[in-house]
């Protein structure tokens, strides 16, 4: 029995004991094919999924290597059935290939004739396949390339896409590592470089990096690699402007070369930044802005925050299979479970780095997560107890008792840039009045938002209350403290985003603080438990304190 760091469970989870001397080597060995599911402080959990194994196949790993890695690092005997299953699953990828035939155009080619016969009979593929060219080849309508890949994945026979990409309209783009307009020189971080290389070698795919790890730069570097016109899809206008600023600062692109395609402006330029929202807006049931995809011969399409990609975008993406696609995200986990569509339509995962590792490299501020439990007053408790069930969360989350606690927390960190985050507008207004700080919410105009954010960046404003609009893609580099008073029912994704707000590198390497104020003995606590689990699974220290400890005067201590 080898004393390896890895324990293989029969439900296909892998437990990695990270204090083991071989843990680092083992992590490197299994990272390509196993998805990191949880990374608490002692034992990390990875999971073997078909998608993960196919991702590994797409990256050139074979079943033999996977099985060897499992056996080599496993502490206990690995069940035979699991090894067989791994090998069989991996073997399914690439039995079918999408390729360009000089004579027949796009074809589905089989390395295993029986598989082709099997899938050709499937009803799910009806209408996608053309004539049978020979025993191993069937013509494919080029417009069905994406949908075919989706359907094949559902059938469990993911196809390898070797049909290549169009180069698109060339456009010179360089990284400006010397710094533009007197900016300081900089270099791409090592993991960013690796991510871009992995993406470029694979052609299309997703790069998974935590918030604050510089995903924008990965996008910029990929554009510099492609040197072609680029369409960038982002979640909202503010995020788009952020991209634009970053691109102007970090690349040879000038303001005139970058267009904004949003609700306010409709510019189409060599590099165009469009929001999901405008693309998915409909008039009379039809998508009105689809022309954008054909407006230029795009050489690269960048999807920011892939995990938020709305369903219609998947449909458009199915038609973009001949263009290089780069997905950027902090997590492949989608709340709607459409990870398979990301895999088949945008591409396999090309690069992934666990948060903690990047943090230990010093790129992300270490964060301390604290849950503050507030005891409701008797009146509040009585109101809560007699309220309708659907009102429970709102009542617990917006309890007035939270206000003094938020103030006490702010007082703990005088002079730090602080964000107070909440989901209920009324509560935010209460907070704004109580703390006398400005609020950014959905109805705040973009101009006002930019003004407030700029003021926050420069330090004019120390504290900002923001609603859900702040969840995604705004860059607030100097927020060192986040205080969360209410959320969307403990969604994992929201948590990752909010934590991201405070995880941006700090100028002086100070510690970030992430506070959550919850009402004791209410449903709020239950959601907090989800949050605690999620953050602990990400490896963050998580402590729970009582509000009295925050509010009360520090008792004199005797040693």
């Amino acid at each position: 029995m080898s004393g390896g760091p890895l324990i293989v469970q029969s439900d296909k989870t892998l437990l990695l004991e990270i204090d083991h001397p071989d843990a680092q080597a083992c992590r490197m060995a299994i990272a390509p094919f196993a998805e990191l599911e949880r990374s608490p402080e002692h034992v990390h959990t990875y999971r073997l999924t078909p998608l993960g194994l196919w991702n590994a196949r797409a990256a050139g790993h074979d079943a033999e290597g996977v099985v060897d890695a499992l056996i080599k690092y496993s502490r206990y005997p690995v069940p035979h059935a699991l090894l067989v299953d791994v090998a069989e699953t991996m073997d399914r990828y690439g039995r079918l290939q999408l390729a360009n035939d000089p004579a027949h155009g796009l074809v589905l080619r089989a390395l295993d004739r029986l598989v082709l016969v099997e899938v050709a009979k499937s009803k799910k593929l009806a209408g996608m396949l053309g004539n049978r060219i020979d025993d191993d080849t069937i013509a494919v309508h080029p417009s069905e390339r994406g949908r075919l890949k989706q359907a094949l994945l559902k059938l469990g026979w993911p196809a390898e896409d070797l049909a290549g990409y169009v180069d698109g309209e060339a456009h010179p783009i360089e990284l400006a590592e010397a710094g533009t307009d007197g900016g300081r020189p900089w270099t791409l971080r090592s993991y960013q470089r690796e991510a871009v290389e992995a993406f470029w070698a694979g052609g299309s795919g997703v790069v998974v990096l935590p918030c604050g790890a510089g995903k924008t730069l990965v996008g910029a570097a990929a554009m510099a690699e492609a040197k072609a016109t680029t369409l960038i899809l982002v979640t909202n206008t503010v995020a788009g402007r952020q991209w634009k600023r970053e691109l102007i600062a970090r690349t040879s692109l000038t303001e005139e070369e970058i267009g904004e395609y949003s609700g306010e402006r409709k510019e189409i330029r060599p590099v165009t930044i469009a929001t999901y929202q405008v693309l998915t807006s409909r008039r009379g049931g039809a998508f009105t802005h689809l022309d954008l995809f054909g407006a230029r011969d795009w050489g690269l399409v960048v999807y920011d925050e892939v995990h938020l990609l709305p369903a219609p975008i998947f449909r458009f993406t199915a038609d973009l299979q001949a263009r290089r696609r780069l997905g950027l995200t902090a997590t492949l986990v989608r709340e709607d479970g459409r990870e398979g569509d990301v895999f088949s339509l945008i591409g396999p995962k090309r690069y992934d780095a666990p948060w903690k590792d990047i943090e230990s490299q010093g790129w992300i501020a270490p964060a301390e997560c604290v849950e503050v439990r507030v005891t409701l007053t008797d009146t509040e408790r009585m109101a809560y107890a007699t309220a309708e069930a659907e009102e429970h969360y709102r009542m617990a989350a917006t309890a007035r008792t939270k206000l003094p606690v938020v103030r006490a927390l702010l007082d703990r960190h005088p002079g730090e840039q602080t964000l107070v985050i909440g989901a209920y507008i009324d509560q935010l207004h209460q907070l704004g009045e109580y703390l006398d700080v400005p609020i950014v919410q959905g109805s705040t105009t973009n101009k006002e938002r930019e003004r407030l954010f700029d003021a926050f960046r420069t330090g004019e404003i120390r504290t900002l209350v923001i609603s859900k609009v702040g969840n995604f893609s705004i860059d607030l580099p100097e927020a060192a403290v986040a205080i969360q008073v209410s959320g969307t029912f403990g969604s994992r994704q929201e948590e990752a985003q909010r934590l991201g707000r405070v995880l941006r590198p700090k100028a002086d390497g100070r510690q970030a603080h992430f506070y959550t104020v919850v009402s004791r003995d209410t449903i709020d606590t239950e959601y907090a438990a989800h949050r605690q689990r999620f953050l602990a699974e990400q490896g963050y220290a998580y402590t729970i304190v009582d509000a009295d400890d925050v509010l009360g005067p520090t008792l004199p201590s005797f040693d």
């Binding site: 469970q9 989870t13 437990l15 004991e17 002692h42 005997p77 069940p79 059935a81 998580y542």
Partner: protein, 822 residues
């Protein structure tokens, strides 16, 4: 010939005779009376067939060679003759191999006698009529064909001139068996233009000759023979000479190989194979336990037709995360190992026996207490010995009903032998070599072709099951699997060594258990605690630890290690089970190798704080008042002590007695209580007079008891009919003729009664007349009956009894007399 075998046996020294009996043990059951009897038995079809079953393909082929080289006159052959024939083909085996095969045959007395004059044991031709797949000599079949065979040049020309479709038939028959059935009509000429048409040729004068078979028969290459299911018309046989001619390429005996087929499958790293197998054994034990726990929680009912229903199997499989075949296998193995059993459902014992259900036995507890390796060994041994072919589960039987788990339809007596032979093949290979399935089947086919033919499916299943159970790993027999097989075989083959079964049932198990033990993880007594409230046990937990975790945590993932989670619910459960918060803190501190996370401590305290915040009790009635002082007074009052009142709150008292009693005792004591209902409104009560149940008054009955009741007409008619029928019965009984009534033993029974009776009855059937029939009933008593005969035949009289309107059947031999009525 049998006498000569007997003579031969008689002349043998004791050791040789013993050696024969050793090789053919069936000869001594029962022990033959003398050598002659032994000889007869040794030549019996059954015994010879058994002896052949154990022989490998090469030896059987050499036996065929001996049969082919028999002298047609005296039936003897010689070693040299066999050798010559066996080595005449292109791939000639080494003469030593042939001699060794002959020695094997002689040792079993399938061949006996001197080297130059070997006799074949009798009965062989009945068992396989066609030695080496060759037909009978042409001389025995047909004179014309014999003439053709006598002229080799012409024979060759004829064969070469065969059209391709005919040649294909020839080649197939030449490869053996040499007889083929001919579909009806194949010997007739086919319709012109069909694909079977054979082109006209010169030998037949240029006319179409019909089907290929017809062509062959016409050209005397095939001979029509009798026999077969299709009657005389349907069979053709390829004569031996032509068969030999067609076998020029392969040799007269067909392809010969004196050694088993080569295995080219990979040879695994022994450690890797053992490790994969050991991993599988852990799974098997864990899954079996999970299955049985499911059965314990919800026992599966036994179907009327036996076995567990498909739906229950599906439920068990889903609950344990297994696929159905694997679940079926584990259920069968667990049953064979005595871990589950049937129990009558209480209260269900009825006419057809009791309803039964399958659930774990007491033996299951014993099994659970064993180590992983011991538990696995118990399962694996049961698997080796069980006479069940689990692969049949889910298929359909002859009557197209699904075969269910544990049902009688999956019983196969040959299953253990199939397992032994398959694992035996693996065991005889180099350690850790992993042949693929086809190679194993080929090896089995060579080793004992007569035994393995038709059992390919069973053999494949054995390989799958062995992999599932961890007897093999990565397709190779594991080291402990090899030991287990050896132990199981040894204890069976040589019971004299261990007549009481002591060696195999030792406390720590056999060498297989020890070998497996070293491969399996050792139990651990600690866990790792993490901030996400998971508890990771890095190995199989010790029983004590497992029991603690069972109470305090929810299981999340199992396997080599186990992951558990502490949740609010699980902490509450632990508190319910009697743990205090301090106990839990202590447990986590003691068992954890890592610091206890603050979140966990907080959780335990938080749940403990709320635990017991609501209290439940039972009471017969309560007493409440807004006046606390009044309640205090009642509580202190000695006169109401009998009520055992208890103060729950300042304004509420409870008593175990019912409200009525509370009310009356308090009233007696001079208080003024009022009862209230669930909504809190007062219930006013007034004393209620006691009353008997209501009954009708006399006045409703008929006023004049003497008045005649009026009867309706239909009823009167019915009564009349009833009376008439009774009268008829009475008259009939009276009128029965004297000979009928004369059942008295002394009364002279008419001698002619029985003979006459038949004539009378026949006449009565024709006339449809009423007849008095006298007969002896089943108890030997005589009786008589007035009936109208309906039919007579097959030894029975069928007759109608007008009074009872029933059809009776009388056995004719019981009828003593018959007299026409009137």
């Amino acid at each position: 010939m049998s006498t000569s075998l007997a003579d031969h046996l008689r002349s043998l020294p004791d050791e040789s005779l013993a050696a024969l009996l050793q090789l053919r043990p069936d000869l001594v059951v029962p022990v033959p009376a003398d050598v002659a009897a032994l000889a007869i038995r040794a030549q019996s079809r059954v015994s010879v067939s058994r002896a052949l079953d154990g022989l490998d393909q090469f030896t059987l082929q050499i036996l065929d060679a001996a049969r082919l080289t028999r002298d047609p006159v005296d039936g003897t052959t010689s070693v040299d003759g066999v050798l010559a024939l066996a080595t005449s083909g292109p791939n000639r085996p080494a003469p030593t191999a042939v001699r060794a095969a002959i020695d094997r045959l002689r040792a079993r007395f399938l061949l006996y006698g001197a080297e130059s004059a070997l006799y074949l044991v009798g009965g062989m031709d009945e068992i396989s009529p066609y030695p080496a797949g060759l037909g009978r000599p042409a001389a025995e079949l047909d004179a014309h064909t014999a003439a053709l065979c006598a002229d080799p040049a012409k024979l060759r020309r004829t064969v070469l001139s065969a059209p391709p479709s005919a040649r294909a038939i020839l080649d197939r028959l030449a490869a053996g068996p040499p007889v083929g059935s001919v579909p009806p009509g194949a010997l007739q000429a086919p319709a012109v233009g069909t694909k079977d048409e054979v082109p006209p040729d010169d030998t037949n004068g240029g006319a179409p000759t019909g089907s290929p078979v017809r062509w062959l028969v016409d050209h005397r290459l095939l001979v029509r023979v009798s026999g077969g299911k299709g009657g005389t018309a349907g069979m053709v046989e390829l004569p031996r000479e032509i068969g030999l001619l067609l076998r020029r390429e392969t040799g007269p005996l067909g392809p010969l190989s004196s050694s088993p087929p080569e295995v080219v499958g990979p040879v695994r790293e022994p450690k890797a194979a053992d490790s994969a197998g050991a991993g599988q054994t852990m799974e098997v034990v864990r899954h079996t336990e999970a299955l049985l726990e499911q059965l314990a929680a919800e026992p599966a009912p036994v179907l009327r037709s036996g076995g567990i229903g498909v739906r229950d199997l599906r439920r068990l499989a889903r609950a344990t995360g297994l696929d159905e075949p694997a679940a079926a296998l584990l259920l069968e193995v667990a049953y064979a190992a005595g871990l589950t059993g049937e129990m009558d459902l209480p209260g269900s014992v009825g006419r057809y026996g009791a309803d039964q259900q399958v659930l774990p036995t007491a033996g299951y507890e014993m099994w659970r207490a064993g180590s992983l390796a011991q538990r696995w060994e118990q399962l694996a041994r049961a698997w080796l010995a069980m006479t069940r072919q689990v692969g049949l589960v889910g298929q359909r039987d002859d009557r197209d009903r699904p075969i269910t788990v544990l049902s009688a339809e999956a019983e196969r007596a040959g299953a253990p032998a199939a397992r032994r032979s398959v694992l035996g093949v693996l065991a005889d290979l180099e350690p850790a070599s992993a042949p693929d399935v086809e190679e194993v089947l080929a090896l089995l086919d060579w080793r004992a072709p007569r035994r393995s033919r038709g059992r390919e499916t069973a053999h494949r299943e054995v390989l799958t099951e062995a992999a599932t159970l961890g007897v093999t790993g990565l397709g190779a027999l594991t080291s402990y699997g090899r030991l287990l097989l050896a132990e199981a075989t040894a204890s069976e083959d040589d019971p004299s060594d261990d007549p009481l079964g002591l060696l195999t049932d030792t406390e720590d198990g056999g060498s297989a258990v020890r070998a497996l033990d070293t491969l399996l993880p050792a139990p651990v007594d600690h866990f790792l605690l993490q901030a996400d409230l998971t508890v990771v046990v890095p190995g199989p937990p010790e029983p004590a630890l497992a029991a603690e975790l069972d109470v305090v945590t929810e299981p999340e993932s199992a396997g080599g290690a186990s992951v558990h989670r502490v949740t609010t619910g699980s902490v509450r459960r632990a508190l319910d089970a009697g743990y205090s918060a301090d106990d839990l803190h202590d447990l986590f501190r003691r068992r954890s190798r890592t610091p206890v996370p603050q979140g966990l401590t907080y959780l335990v305290d938080d749940v403990a704080r709320k635990h017991g915040g609501l209290r439940i009790g039972s009471a017969g009635a309560y007493l409440r008042s807004d006046d606390e002082a009044l309640l205090a007074e009642v509580l202190a009052d000695r006169r109401v002590e009998v009520l055992a009142l208890r103060r729950l709150a300042p304004t509420v008292l409870v008593t175990p007695y019912q409200g009525g009693r509370l009310l009356s005792v308090l009233r007696e004591a001079g208080y003024a209580p009022v009862a209230e209902d669930a909504t809190g409104s007062t219930v006013l009560s007034r004393p209620k007079a006691r009353r008997a149940p209501a009954r009708g008054a006399v006045a409703t009955r008929a006023l004049d008891p003497l008045a005649t009741p009026r009867l309706p007409l239909p009823r009167l008619l019915g009564v009349v009919e009833q009376i008439r029928r009774g009268d008829a019965v009475a008259r009939a009984a009276r009128r029965a003729p004297a000979i009928m009534r004369g059942g008295a033993p002394d009364g002279p029974v008419p001698a002619h009664g029985h003979h006459d009776a038949l004539a009378v009855l026949q006449q009565a059937v024709r006339d449809k007349a009423l007849v008095w029939v006298g007969y002896v009933d089943a108890h030997g008593a005589t009786a008589s009956r007035l009936v109208r005969p309906v039919s007579l035949g097959a030894g029975y009289l069928r007759a109608e009894d007008e009074r009872t309107e029933m059809l009776h059947t009388f056995a004719l031999h019981r009828i003593t007399a018959a007299v026409l009525e009137g």
